[in-house]
Symmetry: C2
Subunit: 361 residues, 2 copies
DNA sequence: ATGAAAGCGCTAACAG
DNA sequence: CTGTTAGCGCTTTCAT
């Protein structure tokens, strides 16, 4: 009964134990780094492991311990520099704490997000970090909680969910930039967001299913109202999800009888496309149009003019949410924590005084 | 002997089987979607699973099947848009094929890369996609192969490793842009790369441990030699790893008696920092200096002047390497495949004729 | 300090 | 078509 190890057959603790002349349990103790073993036995086992090229099977370990040492992360789009930085923050903190990250892209699709959550739970991740596509349908998030795995939210809060959440101060930021614009005489300010509504039109706040964007629009409309600019809601444009859609919105905006004198872009992808579009249309920044974008993406500093932005501590957003989650994994209890990171307005040259437009009688 | 399921105790196939009044094997068959089961039994099991809120344990499945449905990916820095796009390509292809991705950042550190590979193997990933930090030390990559897991290389080839590899045509691209510059009369062309050498100086090609960069420098020097520009090697600058280092290099370059009239940036992070630095130094593009960068990052199109770049099909790079790897996972055999994706030169306005500089006697 | 044995949740033969 | 029986590789009581 010779045992002929095929190249696909991996060496196990049993093999090492046998080679070292000790029991499986003892070998497992030194290989797994737990319990107590005498020094000489430890050495013998280590030598045997080395000789046999033993490689631990984390899956088997996870099976018995119930912990996989893995965190599941679901973001909208890793290609978006915003999430790129956040994920880097998460992975850095996770690695330092001995955790790995399984990454899933939702593409901002609820169905994809649900599937990802289900898969991650099945994979027995110890905890989840999610940037939920919508806060309207959260059954799958509750399911994650029910599975006993801590959940933490990234960038987007869900009021009905009592979990650790890290966001940036969207309301404050939107209020500040709107006031800045109003202070420069702007009264026709358009707000462009990738968030979409069923009819692709904005009519009321409750149609916006992403908390961060909802807060921004609320602040935007509020600041306008405070300045006696009525019905700012009609300047909100949703569904700016790709270059084509953004082009269409910009075109529509400037084909109207009264085009905007300022645009707020809800993320840097929108900001970039607006910048390109208006440049091609011969609209001068900031002469004809003022532009402010959320997220201080790298490009915003090198354009002519450079773009005024809301700087968001994105890497730190990832770091913080990972720290919170790992705290739970290490046994921290207590009520859900909400961290709101401050933003900073970086004023550059894309904002100027509103020009009185002839068409506006 | 009542069984009181604590909230942390998950329901298993055994529980479902019991509730449905069938054997564990039968329940497992419908839950796992394999084997054959009668329709009525299938329904009964599904109902029971639903009622008990059964959630499969992929870890247990992986234990017995030997497949985890997971691909390990190690990149230098997910924050770099280059890798962001590549990883998106990988995850998209992986998801479609039913695989998940565990992501690890090496930070271009060999030690971190080794640790990541070890961890990923321990986690029983089915295969690995790596963008190796160095092609000089590859024992850990061989170990991955020895573990029986297919390995595929992203963006960087390793000659001594016989595995599927997907790169872009670095040699051709570097040759083309160098010739373009030379055609414009440039003879003092600096090449900046993040790759580093022990003494932070470039002396010979074999000091460069990243194949893509080595090929580029080889093409660069070769094209210079063809144009009777001797010793182009002295214009190569390594270690452009962060903004500070890049600033220092640019400063050094322009403090010299004979500053360069053109700069080639080996990635978009370098390109961006060079752009900022020369702008601050009052060096005009393309009047005083011509600039070409690898990677058509979004910012390169919106600067003034916009930057001439080597467009690399980065998303496709990720797609392709994932496709190759998954092919292996599905049983494809045969010799290692090498795919070299073509690049495209996007000529914009950052390149101009070389100006005769007074200081160059 | 060490060993024997049980079992995590699932799949994979092999019977019937 | 369905049930029985073994494990996968590891950790973990419980003895010794």
């Amino acid at each position: 009964m010779e045992k002929i190890p095929a190249k696909t057959v991996s060496v196990t603790v049993a093999d090492v134990a046998h080679a070292a002349g000790v029991s499986k349990a003892t070998a497992a103790r030194v290989l797994g780094g737990y319990g107590t073993v005498s020094d000489k036995v430890r050495e013998a086992v280590k030598r045997a492991a080395q000789a046999l090229d033993y490689r631990p099977n984390e899956l088997a370990r996870s099976m018995t311990t119930g912990r996989s040492g893995t965190i599941g992360v679901v973001v909208g789009d890793i290609e978006n520099p915003f999430f790129g930085s956040a994920v880097r923050g998460i992975t850095d903190v996770a690695r330092l704490a001995g955790f790995n990250v399984i990454l899933a892209n939702s593409g901002e699709s609820l169905a994809a997000e649900k599937a990802a959550v289900k898969t991650l739970i099945a994979k027995q991740v110890d905890g989840l970090i999610i940037s939920p596509a919508k806060d309207s349908e959260i059954e799958h998030l509750r399911e994650a909680e029910r599975s006993g795995r801590p959940l933490a939210l990234l960038d987007r809060a869900v009021a009905r969910l009592d979990v650790d959440t890290v966001t940036t101060d969207d309301f404050e930021a939107a209020q500040a930039i709107t006031r800045l614009l109003i202070g420069q005489g702007h009264r026709r300010i358009a707000y462009l967001t990738a968030c979409d509504t069923p009819d692709h039109c904005f009519s009321q706040l409750s149609d916006i299913y992403t908390s961060s964007v909802r807060l921004r629009i609320e602040a935007f409309i509020g600041a306008c109202r405070d300045a006696a600019i009525p019905d700012a809601a009609r300047w909100v444009r949703v569904g700016a999800v790709n270059p084509q859609a953004i082009r269409a919105i910009v075109t529509e905006l400037f084909n109207a009888a009264t085009p905007p004198t300022a645009i707020i872009a809800s993320d840097s992808l929108i900001g970039l496309e607006v910048f390109k579009a208006v440049r091609e249309m011969g609209i001068a920044l900031p002469g004809d149009l003022s532009l402010i974008s959320f997220h201080d993406a790298d490009w915003t500093a090198v354009t002519s003019p450079p773009v005024t932005v809301v700087q968001q501590p994105v890497y730190q957003l990832g770091e913080t949410v990972a720290t919170l989650l790992i705290g739970r994994l290490k046994g921290e209890t207590g009520p859900a924590r909400t961290v709101v990171l401050p933003t900073r307005l970086i004023e550059r040259a894309s904002v100027g005084k509103a020009r009185l437009v002839a068409t506006a009688i």
